[in-house]
Symmetry: C2
């Protein structure tokens, strides 16, 4: 990925004249484009890792697996939140880890963690680098140095138990590579978050990731059969059986641990046969409340599609759900729903019939396959659009939460109002859009996209909006994050989220596995 | 429940002459019936709780909520494993908690835990008293005294969010009472373990219970939206949203904590509308391997029934799956499968058609609704049968595990062989039967029932068999328990199950929430 933008520069997205006109007329975007610099031109804070440590760590992983160049370090300097991108563009001298280590096995990871524990060197585990919550920030937090531990060499499909439907995958394998390895054997994981193209299997587990097909295949935590986690205090192997009553599920402590409790080196993940058939269908609902009620009925009472989404009126109005056509042609009002169905041809047809009956009975009108196909084509591209908007002087960011069905309208209103108020106060009245992309029998996620003009301090501008939104989420009883994880950015709300005793428990676990506190300091644990 | 047997004495089960003849001829049962004593006749170890403590605890819960009579104490003396029942019949002076406290609210629980922490009094949380792993044993473990904390007064359905499908239930509500309260509003939990009639909502959570309808409604951990847990260090409220990426799922630490980490006082549980239609169908498979492969195909590739079970040849042969007809009429060889389907009439019909096609394609022959209806009628009665067998001089006990589909045949063979060897060596060649009652895409449970003649030391006899079975389970890579929990009986295998680091993590959590270690000592944590 580019150092100061999402993904592959070849996929760079140009805004259409229509969108540019809309930004100016509706949002008052007038700011000049933000400076972009090529990675070779950027000054980087010098490495704080002395030659003794460098030699010792090189002895563990081999000289060729220790990166100390500015470029290596910059490419591991953090994630891809809007704040990250703004910082890379606006700050002259960049912070970066002092070295990048790419160990080749769990033993090397163990040796690195032991050495760093002894010598007070912080370690930031690094997968695909797609965090949008500051989860990869090279926080020093009183340590002598901080190194990035890149898991890219954990790249093997080391086992596929076809009978049990369990694949053993190295933590550093990216989403596309995992699907490629598995599809060659006729299998698929079915986990497709927006970060899919770059994020890794280990990262999916470390952040409690949830993919676009969660309605059908579950969240990544549901797919995890077992983990191998290397900690400074030893190795934990979880997932002895498909289900167990042998005490608390310790694996659940490491799913979502964000590199603070250990380094996930291997994931045993549930896989299924590559679906024989896929059908997609778009739906129109007269308004968000009607659409949300229809989705609720569907997940509570019927067969559930593999993908199930609902955009609100604002998002539907600008066609954000199908990024290929954004701003070009608006559907005729109302709210757009997307459904897809995967499986054997017969099951797809039967499930689709069941779901269609429920959606139609609850106020939906079929729009045929096209909106679903359009959505599918552009479904990993929104981050490129954000970069184009940032380049054009607009501020664009997303945030998300989840709550019960009974609290959904309340949370949506509270968060939208908080964002509108916080940005309007700064003279930049925003467009706030929302969709449901993950559904459960008891509730759903809410995903907000915010676009407005940048002020002269866009980072400060967004921080104020984010603070207001986070307070509104927490204040209305929802979770501070449904799938983006905690990192640095959501940490201020964690004490409220899990309570004082919850924070103590998390810290107690941390102390047990990482007594020196070297693992990803400054993240997650309040 | 009776002090020395399962359940309600009015439901006492008589063995038919056919079964009695079978016990004698096939298993050589000749031992005379074991002594049964009425609860009033049994000598009980005197209470070790001095008057100062008694006054202080009475001040917390009120005089009428402190039980110190021998009968109160005997009724809280432990659970209902075969070892428990043998001990009650064979040992003269019985061990029992020193007092039984029945607090009326979370505040009182908190006060009890604080007092007991300060004064080194162990506390055993008590729900329905149905543990079959020694989870309720009044272990003193160096403490001055041990009290039973009975949650029966936590008996309210305090909230029902019909839109979100979430019920807030007091931890002390039994299975039938919870269903009664919810059905009055049109809802059901759908959790029906064999202990259903006596076990409690809090107990289901504390033991990671799994019910007979787990294929349709999931394990109890899947149904738990949130918990309120009172610990000596404060109260934890989990379950802020249907799903969250805000760090590790701390609720998963308390589901399965067996009273060692806190007292669960309230459970917010997922509920669904009372199903409109229920269909049942029995199936015959030529052998267990064919039947297991058919179940695997079903859960991996199709719609899944609500209940899905498969008895092996031995269990099918004595008709144990339908306890009402045990030993009376054997089906014509092969293995009996049971399926049930619940939901709207239309969905039941569609799902049943989908599942039938898969089962038939994989070697199954429909037996029509009768076997399913027979199973349904007797599905909570097996423990009464065990009592009748014990009274007749037979030894009868069950144990269970789970593993991946790929390892299922291996585990079944290893455990069966271990049981046969360990009991045959003692001169009591057993009948070992097995069934699958819980299925997952990646694997299934195995539930073993063992019947043989009692030796003169039936407790020692069973301990040897259990030790061999546990070693075989652990040695073959399966979990030491799929749904019976750990308690005292499975604790010897926990270090192997979760590893040394896992044990340290569990102990670290224990130290954080229960620094004095008063909560259910001697259980779960290795």
């Amino acid at each position: 990925m580019q150092w100061d933008a999402w993904g592959d520069p070849a996929c760079r997205r140009e805004l259409s004249d229509g969108v540019r006109a809309l930004l100016t007329s509706a949002l008052g975007v007038t700011a000049p484009p933000v400076l972009r610099r090529s990675i070779g031109e950027v000054p980087v804070e010098p490495s704080a890792l002395g030659p003794t440590h460098l030699r010792a760590l090189s002895a563990v992983v081999g000289d060729s697996h220790v990166g100390v160049s500015d470029i290596d370090r910059l490419l591991h300097a953090g994630g891809k939140s809007t704040l990250d991108l703004l910082r890379r563009r606006s700050v002259d001298r960049q912070q970066a880890p002092d070295a990048v280590l790419t160990p080749g096995g769990a033993d090397e990871v163990q040796d690195i963690l032991r050495y760093c524990s002894k010598h007070r060197i912080a370690v930031v585990p690094f997968g695909g680098g797609t965090s949008v919550v500051g989860g990869l920030d090279p926080v020093r937090d009183g340590f002598e140095a901080v190194v990035s531990l890149d898991l890219r060499r954990f790249d093997q499909l080391s086992d596929l138990d076809e009978e049990s439907g369990i694949a053993t995958l190295g933590a550093g394998i990216t989403g596309p590579r995992a699907e490629e390895l598995l599809r060659a054997r006729g299998f698929s994981i079915g986990h497709f978050p927006q970060s899919f193209r770059f994020a890794t299997i280990g990262g999916f587990a470390a952040t409690r990731s949830s993919g676009q097909a969660s309605a059908g295949y579950g969240r990544f935590e549901d797919m995890v059969h077992g983990l191998t986690v290397v900690t400074p205090s030893g190795v934990l192997v979880t997932g002895r059986a498909p289900a167990s009553a042998a005490g608390p599920d310790l694996g659940e402590l490491f799913v979502g641990s964000e590199g603070t409790l250990g380094v996930i080196t291997e994931v045993r993940v549930r896989v299924h046969h590559v679906p024989e058939a896929i059908e997609r269908e778009g739906w129109n609902f007269p308004d968000f409340a009607t659409g949300a009620a229809a989705l609720r009925q569907l997940v509570q009472e019927s067969s559930v599609p593999t993908v199930l989404r609902l955009s609100d009126e604002a998002e539907t109005g600008v066609n954000l759900a199908t990024t290929g056509k954004i701003g070009e042609s608006a559907v005729a009002g109302g709210c757009l729903g997307i459904t897809t169905y995967e499986g054997t041809a017969e099951l797809v047809s039967q499930r689709m019939a069941q779901a269609r009956a429920v959606l139609a009975a609850h106020g939906g009108t079929s729009l045929g396959p096209e909106p679903g196909n359009d959505w599918e084509k552009g479904r990993f591209d929104a981050p490129y659009l954000r970069d184009a908007l940032l380049d054009a002087g607009a501020l664009c960011e997303t945030l998300e939460t989840a709550t019960t069905w009974g609290n959904l309208a309340n949370v949506r209103t509270a968060v939208t109002q908080a964002l509108v108020d916080a940005l309007t106060t700064q003279g930049t009245s925003p467009l706030v859009m929302c969709h449901i992309s993950h559904t459960y029998t008891t509730g759903a996620s809410l995903y907000f996209t915010v676009v407005c003009a940048q002020t002269t301090d866009p980072s400060g501008q967004w921080l104020a909006a984010k603070r207001a939104a986070g307070d509104a989420i927490t204040g209305s009883g929802a979770t501070i994050t449904h799938h983006h994880a905690v990192g640095v950015d959501h940490r201020p709300w964690m004490a409220d989220e899990i309570g004082g005793l919850g924070a103590n428990i998390l810290q107690a676990v941390k102390n047990a596995v990482d007594p020196a506190g070297i693992l990803n300091p400054g993240k997650l644990i309040p």
